[in-house]
């Protein structure tokens, strides 16, 4: 019993770094993804092309490779980050690309008539985006955003290879030390609880933003 408590406490400590990566990545990649989407849709050709290439690289290569690149390859050319910054940089750049594609599709799904109505009423481009397009886009993109967010919870376990004591690494250390699988079950339970909480939050958001249709 005492051992179980100790295991839970260790894993809880490990989940701190997991949560930290998760929350910070989300907080940075969502706005970044939105701006990437706007640039991707911009009529300035070079900008749109650069964003296209960026999205292609980020979605077309493994996140694991990107992590290793930032963590091991960049220091070789003199670019050095702390462990956590390296992980955050890789996760943010990667997730921003996925979010950008979701936002782009969301923005493009808003009928042209909404822009035209806003224009004939005298709204500026910024007002139209902020007041008319964004709220409708959020409503439409919540389900895929929710999916990606839950993926992110699980992807945080990749930092395990960067020798940071995240939830998964702590669990593995205990399992190897004690020859006892319990820690894995507890770790699994932690992930399940996190995704359950997120699912509940997104359900409420969908209900809030969805109050206007049906």
């Amino acid at each position: 019993m005492e051992k179980l408590t100790e295991t839970v406490l260790s894993i809880m400590a490990g989940s701190k770094i997991t949560l930290e990566i998760f929350v910070l990545t989300l907080a940075m990649s969502l706005p970044l993804g939105f701006f990437v989407a706007l640039m991707r849709l911009s009529s300035v050709r070079p900008l749109a092309v650069i964003m296209d290439v960026y999205i292609w690289i980020m979605r077309g290569s493994p996140l694991m490779l990107q992590l290793l690149f930032v963590y091991f390859a960049l220091p070789m050319v003199g670019v050095r980050f702390s462990d956590i910054s390296a992980a955050l940089l890789a996760f943010t750049l990667n997730y921003a690309a996925y979010f950008a594609e979701i936002f782009r599709a969301g923005i493009q799904s808003i009928p042209r008539g909404q822009y035209e109505a806003a224009k004939t009423l005298g709204l500026t481009y910024a007002q139209t985006m902020q007041r008319i397009i964004l709220p409708q886009m959020i409503h439409r993109t919540l389900p895929p955003i929710s999916n990606e967010t839950i993926n992110l919870v699980k992807d945080t376990s990749l930092i395990y290879i960067l020798a940071m004591n995240d939830l998964l690494r702590v669990a593995r250390t205990i399992v190897q030390r004690d020859f006892d699988m319990t820690a894995f079950f507890i770790a699994g339970l932690f992930y399940l609880v996190m995704t359950a909480v997120l699912t509940a939050i997104f359900k409420r958001m969908e209900a809030y933003y969805g109050k206007y249709d049906e």
Binding site: P111, Q114, T120, L121, L123, Q127, P135, Y212, D213
Partner: protein
């Protein structure tokens, strides 16, 4: 109609408008005048360029050649090389603000209630306070008979109700000119009546209106002037009694014959 009367009387003067989409020339030199308090109806077969013409008037489309004057100021005019050049952005914004538009597909903001739809532009664009604008908006909703629906979302309204909200939303900005692009074409016949009634009400209040329509009865009874368009050209225009009573052009006769039977 080329008389040189006081130029402020003209709400819109358009001269020689040309407009192409890629190599498809849709407007081939259209000129028209709309005076204060006048109701101009534009009729014609599908694809003749009616919507494009209306959308050129309020800059939803840009013209290639020609000029458009709004209340005596040039929105766009030809430069010396004969290409259309638009006024600076802030001047254009001012001119466009005196035109309201009603679309075939309503285009209400679905994430806002009926009342919020009306308040949005006055609050954001004119920076009016809620206390100033809400009574005005509620009065407009009463006028279109939808005051009880003020807290409903557009998806809960019938097409006819949505279109009347769209009219009220445009009116909330106190425009001098209202543009209508087939406002009843997306509606079931029994719902068009209520929208047309609202529009008749506006005409009776001497609102300047430009209406693209397939409702021949409305065009005949309400308009002060009718333009018949085909293939990007004005084929015939005049008083509704003449256009509908004794059209001069064969194409007009054919079109009206098809529409009325």
């Amino acid at each position: 109609m080329e008389n040189t009367t006081n130029k402020a009387e003209y709400m819109i003067r358009a001269r020689g408008i040309f407009k192409s989409f890629q190599d498809n020339e849709v407007l081939k030199g259209i000129s028209l005048d709309v005076c204060q308090g006048e109701v101009l109806s534009i009729i014609g077969p599908s694809g003749s360029g009616k919507s494009t013409l209306l959308r050129c008037l309020n800059h939803l489309e840009t013209i290639d050649k020609g000029s458009i004057e709004v209340k005596g100021e040039f929105l766009v005019k030809n430069d010396t090389s004969g290409r259309a050049v638009y006024a600076p952005k802030h001047e254009m914004r001012k001119m466009l603000s005196c035109m309201g538009m009603v679309f075939q597909q309503f285009n209400l903001f679905p994430h806002m209630t009926v009342l919020e739809n009306l308040l949005e532009a006055p609050l954001q664009v004119k920076r009016q306070t809620r206390e100033e604008i809400q009574p005005v908006a509620e009065e407009l909703l009463r006028k279109v008979g939808l005051y009880e629906k003020r807290d409903a979302y557009p998806s809960r309204l019938s097409g006819g109700q949505q279109q009347r909200v769209a009219i009220a939303r445009a009116l909330a900005m106190k425009p001098d000119i209202m543009l209508f692009d087939e406002p009843t074409s997306a509606l079931d016949p029994e719902l068009t009546v209520e929208v047309l009634k609202t529009m008749r009400g506006l005409a009776a209040e001497r609102m300047t209106m430009v209406v693209v329509t397939h409702e021949m009865t409305f065009a005949r009874d309400v308009s002060s002037h009718v333009i018949f368009m085909a293939d990007g050209l004005i084929i015939e225009q005049g008083h509704p009694a003449d256009i509908f009573g004794c059209p001069k052009e064969e194409r007009t006769r054919l079109f009206l014959g098809n529409m009325l039977h």
